[in-house]
């Protein structure tokens, strides 16, 4: 039996690395402090591998063929995809993969009813690159990246995403070797609307409402209230990246989230949230 040693969620806005200095000093400090708090918890949890789950920004899969979930089998991942290097202001990097866990997730996930697509490699943009840079800058912890469809209708429902989180927990606990200590990190959100009329604003009210719901520790209420329509109301085509957060929620169930940071960072065009489920 493996163990799920930590479950976390954090925003991955490209401005955090790409045009960091544009944000107000206080906001920069508080967001970084949140990431550092997450990193400290992650290190204390001493994982042997990290599953990171995030929206595929139509980078790996075109709008006409978008799997609900996809996982990369590679023994080593390479990022960022070249066109995104300048945007993210991050150098090219390599991070070890974990093919055995990736294959286990595909095999057992399929049996459990998840539409999950194995691929040899995934291209990374901000979704994995930004959190990796902040959370595991030495890039030694093996990574199993899972992309999901948060922005191409018809998307996996919040209920499905939550159920996937439960399946991931069971896979770790029942199908991983005993010494395997797995951290699960969801990235994306909070409110933002790439390419839409509200691209240059942040919906602070929506973000605080969502975070407070997570802090209640009542997932049934989260699923009742945080519908796809509600996500679009908080910023179309971006805010629904919190579907990844609902996967994380499904892995913890009724545990209340601890909010490590929240800042509405208009300069980065994104509501920035960082949470841990202790």
């Amino acid at each position: 039996m493996g163990e799920l040693v930590g479950v976390f969620a954090a925003s991955h806005a490209p401005g955090l690395t790409g045009w960091f200095d544009d944000a107000e000093a206080g906001q920069r400090e508080r967001v970084l402090a949140g990431y550092q708090a997450l990193r400290a918890r992650l290190e204390r949890a001493a994982p042997t591998v990290m599953i990171m789950i995030a929206n595929d920004h139509i980078l790996n899969f075109p709008v006409e063929a978008t799997p609900d979930f996809a996982v990369a089998l590679a023994a080593e991942h390479v990022g960022p995809e070249p066109w995104f290097i300048e945007w993210l202001n991050l150098p090219p990097y390599r991070v070890p993969g974990h093919p055995a866990l990736a294959r286990t997730i595909v095999r057992e996930g399929t049996r459990a009813g998840i539409q999950i697509t194995p691929v040899d490699r995934l291209r990374f943009d901000d979704n994995f690159s930004v959190p990796l840079h902040l959370l595991t800058p030495d890039l030694r912890l093996p990574l199993v990246p899972i992309t999901m469809n948060c922005i191409v209708p018809p998307r996996p429902s919040p209920e499905l995403c939550y159920a996937v989180g439960g399946v991931l927990r069971r896979i770790v606990e029942h199908h991983c070797p005993p010494a395997e200590r797995v951290a699960l990190i969801a990235t994306g959100g909070l409110s933002h609307e790439p390419g839409g009329p509200r691209y240059f604003s942040v919906d602070e009210q929506w973000d605080r409402w969502f975070l407070e719901l997570l802090a209640e520790g009542n997932p049934a209420r989260v699923l009742r209230e945080v519908t796809l329509e509600k996500m679009e109301a908080g910023g179309a085509g971006g805010t629904s990246e919190v579907l990844a957060w609902l996967v994380a929620l499904g892995a913890v169930g009724r545990r209340p989230a601890t909010i490590l940071a929240y800042e509405p960072v208009v300069a980065w065009r994104c509501g920035m949230g960082v949470v841990a489920w202790d």
């Binding site: 490209p14 401005g15 790409g18 045009w19 544009d22 920004h57 139509i58 980078l59 075109p62 709008v63 006409e64 995809e81 070249p82 066109w83 995104f84 300048e86 945007w87 202001n89 291209r123 922005i151 191409v152 209708p153 018809p154 998307r155 996996p156 429902s157 609307e193 790439p194 390419g195 839409g196 009329p197 509200r198 691209y199 240059f200 796809l228 329509e229 679009e232 179309a236 085509g237 971006g238 208009v266 300069a267 065009r269």
Partner: protein, 122 residues
Amino acid sequence: MAIPLESEGQRSALRRDVQEGLLAKLDKTARINRLIFEVRLDAAARARLLQDLEGVMADYGLSEAERAAVRARDFKGLIELGGHPYLVAQLSRLLYGTANNRNTSVAAEMLRRSIAEPAAPR
């Protein structure tokens, strides 16, 4: 617009997603989506886009309406024609540069002119 179905069982077997708003405008067959999806991944294609925009649009079979919108930098119009807003935002970066994509960058400003609601006074 909900399509009438015979039973609740049929209805619940289908996925439900938003029926209005930005994502509901998506046309998965719109050629602009394929163009942006592929050009991002190929340095030579990115360079050619800047040298020969008309040729690239012809190669991808964009509709006349899509071509006119690209020429006019009418990003909002491209979304109305079925372009995914995420990809359309990236078209601005393909055309105007992707480094330092702050709110005051040319790529962001060109996008804002087309898509954004007027800024609230500060």
